[in-house]
Amino acid sequence: MAVEKIPSGTVLRMQFQTGLDGDGDPIYRTKSLSNVKTDALDQDIFDVAQALVQLQEHTLMAVLRVDSAVLEEVV
């Protein structure tokens, strides 16, 4: 049976390294911004992440784009 994939949401996730723990291992923190348009361009999401990163003091490790979708049966 045919299935249709419908975009349902996109999240911008920024992963920061905030410091080192007692054993010298990195401590990570994640900042998520939901309500990103599902049709937003990767470049635009990346640019917004860069603009936000410059305002704060931690080191950016990664910018993630998390897309969700609903699968529905096509009748």
Binding site: K37, D44, D47
Partner: protein, 74 residues
């Protein structure tokens, strides 16, 4: 006693209501120009969907200091 700082950037959307994007640990040296530039960039890129439509204008930005005093810990 631990103090944390949060930068709150307030935007106006198409419906005229306010939407806030907050960011922890803002730089100590943060200037108004830097915050304004980042907010302009966010509006220009227009990647966010709010219940009141696109973000169309800046409203304000503020830094919130939060101090936690532990009364007791087991």
């Amino acid at each position: 006693m631990a103090t944390t700082q949060t930068l709150q950037m307030s935007f106006i959307n198409q419906a005229g209501t306010r939407t806030t994007i907050s960011l922890d640990n803002p730089k100590d040296t943060l200037t108004e120009a830097e915050v304004v530039a980042a907010m302009d960039q966010i509006i220009a890129k227009n990647i966010f969907n709010t219940s009141g439509g696109d973000l169309v204008a800046k409203h304000s930005a503020q830094i919130i200091d939060r101090t936690v005093n532990v009364v007791f810990e087991q």
